[in-house]
């Protein structure tokens, strides 16, 4: 049996990725090929949390585009707000936005359900993209590449 390190390089799982053109705002060029994102669940039904987990899969290999998950909002360039906000999550969401270092941007992706409050109605600053429907992992990657203006 091969060691894990050798086993790892015997399989090529990364797939070519062609981004879809999305109608989003654009971030400063300095974030191209270096973007740290922090996802926050504000009360979604679980779809989007699992899509974020899928985004970490080697098929997408987001690191090749310079996209990384930040461990804290204080290290993030983009806050990804996932879902519609439950009553108790309004305060923590606003506090998380306060913790973001400037310049930052916010992407709101809802899960297509009716419950909770739309984060768009919370007057959050620097919202660069808003979707009132659920996005799949590949679509989320497209949005991230669109906001940084990545040509891939």
């Amino acid at each position: 049996m091969k060691s894990w390190a050798l086993y790892g390089i015997t399989r090529k799982l990364t797939e070519p990725f062609k981004k879809l053109e999305e109608n989003t705002g654009k971030m400063d060029k300095i974030f191209r090929r270096s973007l740290n994102i922090y996802p926050i669940d504000v009360g979604n039904n679980g779809d989007l949390n699992f899509e974020m987990a899928a985004l970490a899969a080697p098929q997408y290999n987001i690191h090749r585009f310079g996209i990384f998950f930040a461990d804290s909002p204080r290290h993030a360039d983009v806050l990804l707000v996932l879902g519609r906000c439950s009553e108790k999550m309004v305060g923590p969401l606003k506090e998380t936005v306060n913790q973001l270092p400037k310049p930052f941007n916010i992407i709101i992706v809802e899960d297509g359900t009716d419950f909770g409050i739309s984060a768009r109605d919370l007057s959050l600053p620097n919202v660069i993209a808003y979707y009132d429907k659920k996005l799949e992992a590949g679509e989320i990657l497209s949005v991230l590449l669109n906001i940084t203006g990545d040509k891939k």
């Binding site: 799982l13 009360g43 979604n44 987990a53 899960d111």
Partner: protein, 409 residues
């Protein structure tokens, strides 16, 4: 006998009880037995776990609702003096969406939609349990094609959930190559779901009667499932040879059988504690089904149960697809406005028993109660984590396969 829920009706308290595959609704006055999980179920929307601990140097380490460690919105109040965990109290309220209230006074299809949105990674199990409760209320049974398609949906759901849990465990143990390959298989499993049902989370598929002609890519789904099984078998065998990995999971967050039964936990957590209980054995169309158990009750045992269930589920999906292809579609229909009465239905979801109590009047849902495996799973986590250290948090929590969306509804 297990207590699965406490509901109030006409200012009377009713208990939802389960004995093997028999469900019953009893007035609390008629039951002499005391259930250790009664208070926990009564307060399931406020807090789950143990009380706050006070003492010299003891403080509350509040983890959540916004942390890098737990992606779901919820709060863990962890009482510790800095090393050993003394008590865990969980607040699931950050994810509360009042879905039971939203389901009331809705027509059947809207109600199925709500049930799928309780928790997307158990969407098919929730819709199955709901529809089975409706079938009981209306005193009819769905046809064989529908039941076999539901088996495929339930098992596909189990495969991707178990893959997700094991990938989280391997990531927590810094087994990055294993984690990366498992994440790859997890994505493949989601794509298989989409081939099967046109939804990565198997939504908008389940119904009282399902038309098999809606499923155009069964062969491709079967082939992908076969590939997932082959790749997973290789990875699993490889992972068990990694002592670094095993050492992190072995004897971590042990939940013994007595405690598991007291809490009322079901699913892989109960089977990993040595209890041979899986309600799929009572279902008519599960062919060649076997219950997988382990006896240590630790994180490793829970992972082993899930790993072996992945392989079993893959076989079942392939087998059921093969059978469905040869079957004739029965064009059964039910007049939905004719459904009146109450019923209870269950489904063995990837993390335990999902149960629905419904009261229908002329096809409209009048009342509903949802019992979810995550409520019991959170209590099991809170109890089993005591005595361990914070470094064990990710293994302990992830091994139960639970989430706040399912718990808080």
């Amino acid at each position: 006998m297990r207590l699965l829920g406490v509901l109030e009706k006409d200012s009377k308290e009713l208990l939802i009880l389960q004995d093997r595959n028999q469900l019953s609704l009893e007035s609390i006055d008629n039951i002499k037995e005391k259930f250790a999980n009664y208070t926990m179920l009564k307060n399931r929307d406020k807090h789950i776990g143990s009380k706050a601990v006070k003492g010299n140097g003891v403080f509350n380490f509040r983890y959540g609702p916004v942390t890098g460690g737990v992606g779901d919105a919820g709060v863990f109040n962890i009482y510790t003096y800095g090393e050993r965990i003394l008590s865990v109290d969980i607040d699931p309220g950050y994810k509360k969406r009042n879905i039971e209230t939203l389901i009331k006074n809705t027509a059947l299809h809207q109600a199925v939609n709500w049930s799928e949105n309780v928790c997307s990674n158990f969407a098919f199990s929730h819709s199955c349990a709901f529809l089975r409760a409706v079938e009981k209320a209306g005193s009819f049974r769905s046809d064989e094609v529908t039941q076999r398609i539901r088996i495929i949906g339930i098992e596909l759901e189990r495969i991707y959930n178990h893959l997700y849990v094991i990938s989280r465990l391997s990531k927590g143990a810094s087994q990055n190559v294993l984690a990366s390959h498992l994440e790859g298989l997890f994505e493949e499993a989601l794509r298989t779901n989409k081939l099967f049902s046109n939804s990565r989370f198997l939504k908008h598929t389940n119904d009282l009667f399902i038309d098999k002609n809606n499923f155009k890519k069964l062969d491709e789904a079967a082939l992908k499932t076969k590939n997932i099984k082959e790749k997973f078998e290789e990875l699993y065998e490889h992972s068990l040879a990694s002592w670094n990995f095993i050492d992190r999971l072995y004897k971590t967050a042990v939940l013994d059988q007595k405690k598991a039964l007291e809490i009322g936990v079901t699913g892989p957590t109960l089977r990993a504690a040595g209890c041979r209980e899986d309600l799929r054995v009572y279902e008519k169309f599960y062919d060649n089904f076997k219950i997988i158990t382990k006896d240590k009750g630790d994180v490793l045992a829970r992972m082993q149960v899930r790993a072996e269930e992945i392989m079993l589920s893959c076989d079942m999906v392939i087998d059921q697809i093969d059978k469905i292809k040869k079957m004739q579609q029965n064009n059964s229909k039910i007049d939905e406005p004719s459904i009146s009465g109450f019923g209870m239905g269950y489904c063995e979801s990837p993390s335990g028993l999902v149960l629905y109590f419904v009261n229908m009047n002329k096809g409209i849902v009048q009342d509903v109660y949802i019992s979810t495996p995550s409520v019991f799973g959170f209590k099991a986590f809170a109890d089993s984590f005591v005595g361990y250290i914070f470094t064990d948090f990710s293994f302990s929590f992830d091994s139960f396969g639970i989430n706040f969306a399912d718990c808080a509804r």
